[in-house]
Point group: D2
Chain length 363, copies 4
Amino acid sequence: MSIYTPPPASARIGRRRVSESGPEESSVIIVMQHNASVKQIADAVARVEAKGLRVNISRGEECTIIGVIGDDRPIDRTQFEVLDGVEKVVPILKPFKLASREMHPPDTLVPLNGINVGGNKIVVIAGPCSVESREQILETAIAVKEAGATALRGGAFKPRSSPYSFQGLGEKGLELLAEAREATGLPIVTEAMSSEQVAIVARYADVIQIGARNMQNYTLLNTAGESGRTILLKRGMMSTIEELLMSAEYILAQGNSRIILCERGIRTFEKYTRNTTDINAIPVLKQMTHLPVILDPSHGTGKWEYVTAVARAGIAAGADGLIVEVHPHPEEALSDGVQSLRPEKFAQLVSEVRQIARAVGRE
Amino acid sequence: MSIYTPPPASARIGRRRVSESGPEESSVIIVMQHNASVKQIADAVARVEAKGLRVNISRGEECTIIGVIGDDRPIDRTQFEVLDGVEKVVPILKPFKLASREMHPPDTLVPLNGINVGGNKIVVIAGPCSVESREQILETAIAVKEAGATALRGGAFKPRSSPYSFQGLGEKGLELLAEAREATGLPIVTEAMSSEQVAIVARYADVIQIGARNMQNYTLLNTAGESGRTILLKRGMMSTIEELLMSAEYILAQGNSRIILCERGIRTFEKYTRNTTDINAIPVLKQMTHLPVILDPSHGTGKWEYVTAVARAGIAAGADGLIVEVHPHPEEALSDGVQSLRPEKFAQLVSEVRQIARAVGRE
Amino acid sequence: MSIYTPPPASARIGRRRVSESGPEESSVIIVMQHNASVKQIADAVARVEAKGLRVNISRGEECTIIGVIGDDRPIDRTQFEVLDGVEKVVPILKPFKLASREMHPPDTLVPLNGINVGGNKIVVIAGPCSVESREQILETAIAVKEAGATALRGGAFKPRSSPYSFQGLGEKGLELLAEAREATGLPIVTEAMSSEQVAIVARYADVIQIGARNMQNYTLLNTAGESGRTILLKRGMMSTIEELLMSAEYILAQGNSRIILCERGIRTFEKYTRNTTDINAIPVLKQMTHLPVILDPSHGTGKWEYVTAVARAGIAAGADGLIVEVHPHPEEALSDGVQSLRPEKFAQLVSEVRQIARAVGRE
Amino acid sequence: MSIYTPPPASARIGRRRVSESGPEESSVIIVMQHNASVKQIADAVARVEAKGLRVNISRGEECTIIGVIGDDRPIDRTQFEVLDGVEKVVPILKPFKLASREMHPPDTLVPLNGINVGGNKIVVIAGPCSVESREQILETAIAVKEAGATALRGGAFKPRSSPYSFQGLGEKGLELLAEAREATGLPIVTEAMSSEQVAIVARYADVIQIGARNMQNYTLLNTAGESGRTILLKRGMMSTIEELLMSAEYILAQGNSRIILCERGIRTFEKYTRNTTDINAIPVLKQMTHLPVILDPSHGTGKWEYVTAVARAGIAAGADGLIVEVHPHPEEALSDGVQSLRPEKFAQLVSEVRQIARAVGRE
């Protein structure tokens, strides 16, 4: 295990090359149609070579297969799918590199309040959906600290689907979070909704959260990456695991590897819960990437009754931590009250999760 | 906790009444449109009364609401949605009754090999996807028994999406399963794909499995229910939790409450795994119904690498047991090899799950 | 265009070979992992050869690719995915054969009431969700005939998610349908819910419908295929297009090519409509298969207000016809009233669809 | 029909009230649990009244229902869901107002190149996914104009899931688009990916596109709304129709009603197409909102072979126009080549769509 520093300079993204040389080679396989003509095959080969890539042709009885061997940049396979006589184009390498465990086998450790997230110890981030008042955030901060939380969460800028819903206290909310940190020592996790907000959020926060709705807001990813702050990157509610890793790749490409990934539930046809917690994503991500992975059972279920059970499941599945919504008076919450735990239920959650952590050999 | 016997005679389904009297009353709320006319409201009331139902009108400034009070049969709300001036119709009661915990608060216990499924002890059903040969099923049965399994699973009749895939050994497979039970003492769990197969499967099996693709095969549900055998009812990959409970209701309505529900993953847009294990479904089902609930992490993930992590998660979330695919030589399996565990990995799974069971206060 | 007769004898499915010889050869590509050892590659090759399949090895700088060349049976690729050192296994041929347009390029025409479904003329099947009474079905049959329908639909056996909903009139319903045919000359389309019902349904019906919930009820597919009757095969609400074609393959493998495919909406996260009509499926199916394809805008939307617009869209997209729910008194319907059109709205639909048909060069 | 000007001053969003008074009143219904105690009911009523809202209690035999009558602001129902004894909270009004057709029955017309989008004439926006070079964009602009396009689309800032994909030419691309407008007279539609880009995009573009990934980027919605430019708002691939309308509400709340909504396909489990075109969304949106609605069959299908069929379907379903990807040399496109039409195929599409438009009584 190690603190991973991605190759900074040459890895910058944009229209430039990602790096000038490297041991890996990307490749795709072009499968020609059953009845592709000799001319179509020759044309496809010519097209590949015109892109500066090498080919490796395999003629079977069934069909011809063209191996495309590139340099270290992932190849955009769609440029070949469009050619006449092509049945399909199969990628051989995954479309992310810096985030991949193949590239960087040891676990990346992200320091937070004296813990290395991704290491043996489980991290628990807790707090209200929104910062609503001085009393509310201080009361919550003290309560979650007492119950064993590692960090305090709370939204100052809130993305809300309705323009009529409470939009957060803005900078005032950030100041209250800083005051709560002062009072409790808990580091602050809070969301930046746009690249303009990154500077001000970075001034107050220890960890900048990029929310589910913004997982593919690339301007924000780049700016947050450049800030050098630790980033909590939440999976979009209908984004694939691969897309989550490609969004992490944007941040890594800025030279910032202090990234905590977060599974927070995906959108499905099921109606009894607000989202469907993709518990599979925990072992899949732990296998595919070296970055730490935490679970948000509050958004994952959308109902406080199910939060503790799914929190236990997350740690049992191998998650490195949890982020949980806690509110001292959920019935008065300006947002997400229905999925927030009262402090005493949260303390119970921490105690149950501790048992599970021990059962899987962690703290 | 108790062995629950549903009301047998009058509960028979069909076009008859479900029971002649009862304390519960069903109801829906009809919300009239903002601008509904007095005539539309009167017509809606007349329609409700013509159905033999009582009404309870509430006229607000915003809109008029008609409460519909019925007898003990759930009301089909779509008959009111179609009326002029109706904005929507909201059901008040859940559409299942015998399966609901409100109707029957204590946990139903289903006996299996000396264990009460749904009680304190965790059940583990294990075995190959398909019975392939005498050697294969005996080797597996002995191995899973040694590792601590409660029952043996194995398919004799196999539902396969392709007509060209192996379709199972049929009755020969059932005989081999019986031989494996003889040799190990493990009870047999195996699938019936149609109502015609129920009789023959019931002759050999201890538990009749109704597979995901047949969860809404109502002819099969009725026949299996009538057989009196214990039923393992798997959630359809495209079915809601509510629909699963309504399919259980079909079986309960036949007077058979020996039902084990099984979450086995649902279909989503995610491509890294074959299905998405709906871990939320575990606490939701435990809250909604008195029936025991187990998890199938093999189908839930579709890749053996993730099976153990998700098995741990299932027990941590409160599942009463697991059903796991185990094959002595997955690379030679005629079906589902890619999601089958080797016996030694399965033994490891059982040992890890045991730790989790203890951490949640179970055996 | 032609009436297609699939190869009957040797194509019988089960554990037998599909046919003894043939010009096509199936194949898959095994992509070995980047760092696969020479032994792993040799083992994979040995495994392929042990299955009686030939190999074609291509060693690239990036990775080794093993082409697997089989006989005419599709190869189950999962048996190779499980081998050590294998990155992935890519199928080259589609998993269906008899249903594929590559195998049989001309459109299959299915005769119905003097029309060839799949030919130039648009077919419109209409009628109530359920047969409820003599008056209801006769009134509807006469009305839809007058409006220009080709065939009459109506359910006698109804698959209902709740055991408490109206389950259909059974054989009495079939008799009423036959009487309506007598009165109007319209052929009858009605559902068989299980293989036991096939014989009785076949006695009365011109077209046996296999409903969405039964699309993967393989016992039913086989029995319906054997009956020789025309089959209306509806896509499951969460089945892929590929799975629909593989279910058609079951019927074709019984020597029966009188199959009409039906897109009827899939299940998604969208809540304003009951299902999401997959309009893309129309041109995709027309490209992939020679079988005719119709659209069910009633189930596709679930609300009568949207049925006509989506019916127009279906014909514009290239569908060969429509199946539409019509009820003389939707507010009294025992099922699906909310998505049923009154006869006068249906007449309007037929007239609008006629305009669209002409605009795409059809009748 | 009219050009709709939303109420500008008091409708500004944020933490302020939306407007001080109004004829509409919002409301929700609180359904208490079957066994709710008198105290729980009294507490719920007290909570409602403490929020300054009025109540209307209806005690049925089955359960008690509390009608909550508010002022003109939509009520956040989650604050009541969390109370003890509450079964569920049912909203009566839709959560959007300015976008709703109930509020503003006539169609809003958005002028574009002499056409009123939303009026009788169909609009067709066409062009490449990305602006790649002067030659490419000029060649395309001239070709699509000739074929009958109303406006030119082309991306200068490109949101790409991979940081290694072509990210667009940036401002250089905007200059080339302006040059193409100069040459052809076609207005320009191009995307702003973040609020910082709005100013520069507004300097060159006639219509600012907000892409699917940014549909819930509220900072961008507000800034684009304030710009006063016409906005093309694409539905997120994971967003409900209701969420699309709520995002439009953000723009309307800035006093800008020049909004064109765009259905562009949603994400489902189906794999043969890149997305699933939600054709139902066309009639649903036309019923729910006064804003014009167009369809993007290129993203909706993801494969050029299906674009024309789905374009026809969109117009047949009632869409006010289309946005189509066209590239003179799809096999050389830097992005989305596989779903781009060649100019001659596009000309064919326009001609076929014209037939459909006439069949539905439009031009």
